[in-house]
Symmetry: C2
């Protein structure tokens, strides 16, 4: 059989699998947005049937045989060749999961999620800790059968951030900690910017309209996507031409909807920028969670909390909410949305203290997985770490170790990508500033197209062709380097806080 | 293997297939309600993958073998036994479809739909007739491989209305025609009720709220379903606990939304009333399209256009739209919503002339399928029939043979179920009046629960346990008999039109 025919067989199978996966994504999106209360029961069964089917079709020997042939044939097309290489890796990784293990972890996460919700409601970690313990044990087994060098946590991180290693993250996070701890101390010594006006009443419909307006300005294509309301904002994609984001609108916290729009919008622009021709194939998929997060945080923080962005948008906002903002200058508004203040809740943190939230979770996870921290000790260890790193007392477990859903989903190794994404974001943006003529002048005039075009060309269109660190090198000339974030943070916040 | 184990194997396979089918239904619902413009392309591919998968799993020999064993084992549970009997019939019917035929008809209907839309836009049947010709040919082939007695159209009707026969429909429709032609003539001799106020401006949001209110009154469970907006109103179900209806709101035609709410609400109550325990199995499925339509038309016409119904709801409506209705008495409103007037468009027809729309399509379809009417002669035959039966001239093909989507979908044998449903509806309601204490008094007070409870108990809960005519006999003591509709029509309209 010719390589062309073989490649066609390969894509036919992959397409079948991703068609099912994307159908599941539609069902999940519906579950978060429009499903009636009682609809969840059979929906869970339908989703489980679909994922079982996709798994069965994927791991059948046929695909492996075809890919082995294709690798032997040495495809000349570099994209095709890379697709097969990555699918081959994915395939043999997936094959390591026994059906028993898949069922066991799916059952355990269902129970864990249920008990996490209850534990959170009742502020009682002991309702959730037995499940957490079981999941940690399963994740250790998973690391074992996946295989790893040095540290079992490496096997888990690899699923989210290919190539990420404990050894390197430890070095990076030490640098981050040393820098930010000191810098935040200097900020804390300065008076906090006034920000009460962000918590006045903001009409929900006007907030929604403003958010849609910002998304359009960013270049989100509403003929290839939409925004809806959900309890927790998220982005999902059914193909590059149908990318959905959600948001929630809080009447008494203007920050909530606007920056979740911009954040999810950043994720969505990445998804809309992936190649339609490579639909479902590795080179049509996002590079990693870290790179995905680089896109959301680039837009949310580096752009969306910049003075230039608000030069373009603040008068519009003042016109929408004169009762709250007519007496607030652009400068004061800008300072208020960048207030740095240690706090309890990760998703409400400013862009500097945020990284302590991540580093705390990373340390706890790593120690749970390596066995040096007993799960029953996590609640105390959590509170201690928050006191130690952020100087805050954790008054309830709900605001402590029970705040995030990830562990109940069995997602260990995921958190570090949030920080990696933030650092990638600044490093990418730094290059964009050099390569794009008048980048910031355009942003200050509400023209985001030059930035989006650059991101499309440099990052989005490649999909998984490069791994994250390679991509960073191709785009910026070097691997991830914290000094870009450090420099960005110092410049921005020295100015805001008047630090000499 | 025990019968229990075998039965479990049977339900496992069926559940897998229906889980996929219901997932497709979610994707289709989304396609009609929320999908962004560019999302349709990959959505079509995803849907085609899902339906291919469902078909493959269904027709694999395994299911047939299991069911043959189960039939031999003679299950003692009457529901289980009936499930297997019906699935067995469905299975061997489905097996008659070769993959080639399925692909051919799917391709042809895609093209036909596309050209129907174009033909309609341009008012030019010749753009669609070649597709129609091809589809008629395919449908004749389908009738041949499915097998039939007497008339090939029987094989096609059977898919929508099990057991329906040309011979019987011909007899029924002759009776209908003879009766209605005469009766409508007598109505036409009387002055038409005033109805201009139905076409004043009705605020869309208020109409929507009123529709939701009516649906709640009918007993539609909004925790197990929802209503959204779409171009063409429809009902779809993903399981009895997640039933979705859609509507459209017209500012200058009050009738449009209200009665489409009630109509789709009737379908939806049926779906919500099906057995959850029998999810996906024949006894958890709707009996037939005719019975389905009996539920929608019972609510839409027999209840929703009755004086009692509006006794309960008219003052609410007047309060919502005093500018249009404060000077219109209940009596006059009731007459206006029951005005009988021959017209061009089926879906806008009153409940008497409606049946001519159906009979015309039935005759044309039957003659196309038997080969006594050439497809190229359909446009003229259509116009002639409308002149002949309804006395109206068809000014454009758009208002003529191009008005309905069904033929472009390859749905032949579907239309008769609309009339059957209307006649079933009245016959059922007639029995309900006898069996339910104070039925109409309750309706006139806005209490629909006694009616719904009766429908649940007598019709909904049985699913496909009985075939349509058996169900009619079980519920009403006799098979479908036009005299109930005749009597209902004469009583109601003699009163409205003051016919002695």
């Amino acid at each position: 059989m010719s390589s062309n025919d073989l490649y066609k067989q390969y894509t036919d199978i992959i397409h079948k699998v991703v068609d099912i996966d994307y159908a599941s994504a539609v069902l999940q999106w519906d579950q978060e947005t429009y499903i009636p209360e009682k609809g969840a029961e059979f929906r869970a069964q339908q989703l489980s049937t679909l994922s079982g089917l996709a798994h069965d079709i994927y791991v059948a020997p046929e695909l492996g045989t075809i890919m082995n042939e294709l690798i032997k044939a040495k495809l000349s097309d570099r994209i095709q060749s890379r697709n097969v290489e990555l699918s081959h890796k994915d395939y043999f990784r997936e094959k390591k999961y026994s059906t028993d293990f898949v069922i066991e972890i799916s059952n355990e996460t269902s129970k864990a999620f249920h008990n996490w919700v209850k534990a959170r409601e009742e502020n009682n970690p002991s309702l959730f800790l037995p499940n957490l313990e079981k999941l940690v044990e399963l994740k250790r087994r998973e690391a074992d059968f996946l295989g790893y060098e040095d540290h079992p946590y490496n096997a888990l991180m690899d699923d989210y951030e290919p190539g990420a290693k404990v050894k390197e993250i430890d070095v990076l996070f030490t640098e981050v900690r040393n820098h930010l701890k000191e810098f935040i101390k200097r900020i804390a010594a300065k008076p906090a910017p006034k920000s009460d006006f962000l918590f006045f009443k903001y009409d929900k419909q006007k907030q929604w309209d403003f958010g849609i307006d910002i998304l359009k300005q960013m270049g989100f294509d509403f003929t290839a996507g939409r925004q809806d309301i959900s309890v927790h904002p998220f982005t999902t994609s059914f193909n590059p031409k149908d990318v959905r984001i959600t948001t929630k609108v809080e009447e008494n916290d203007f920050r909530s909807m606007t920056w979740s729009c911009i954040h999810e919008g950043g994720h969505a622009l990445y998804e809309q920028g992936l190649s339609s021709e490579q639909y479902g194939l590795p080179c049509g998929e996002a590079c990693s969670l870290g790179i995905h997060e680089s896109q959301s945080r680039l837009w949310e923080n580096v752009v969306g909390r910049s003075l230039n962005f608000w030069k373009a948008n603040y008068s519009k906002l003042q016109n929408l909410f004169p009762e709250n903002l007519s007496a607030v200058s652009l400068e004061d508004f800008y300072k208020s949305i960048n207030a740095v203040k240690p706090s309890l809740i990760r998703i409400e943190a400013d862009e500097l203290t945020y990284h302590f939230h991540i580093m705390i979770r990373y340390e706890l996870e790593k120690r749970m997985i390596e066995g040096s921290l007993k799960v029953t000790d996590v609640p105390d260890a959590w509170n201690e770490a928050y006191k130690n790193y952020l100087g805050v007392d954790v008054p309830t477990y709900r605001q402590g170790m029970l705040q995030d859903v990830h562990w109940s989903h069995g997602s260990f190794g995921y958190f570090p990508t949030y920080s990696l994404g933030s650092f990638f974001a600044v490093q990418f943006y730094n290059t964009a500033k050099k390569e794009v003529f008048d980048l910031e002048k355009n942003i200050s005039e509400g023209n985001m197209k030059p930035l989006l075009d650059w991101l499309r060309e440099k990052i989005h269109k490649h999909g998984r062709y490069y791994n994250p660190q390679e991509l960073c090198e191709v785009v910026t000339g070097e691997k991830l380097n914290y000094r870009y974030f450090k420099q960005y943070a110092e410049e921005k916040y020295s100015n805001i806080y008047n630090i000499g």
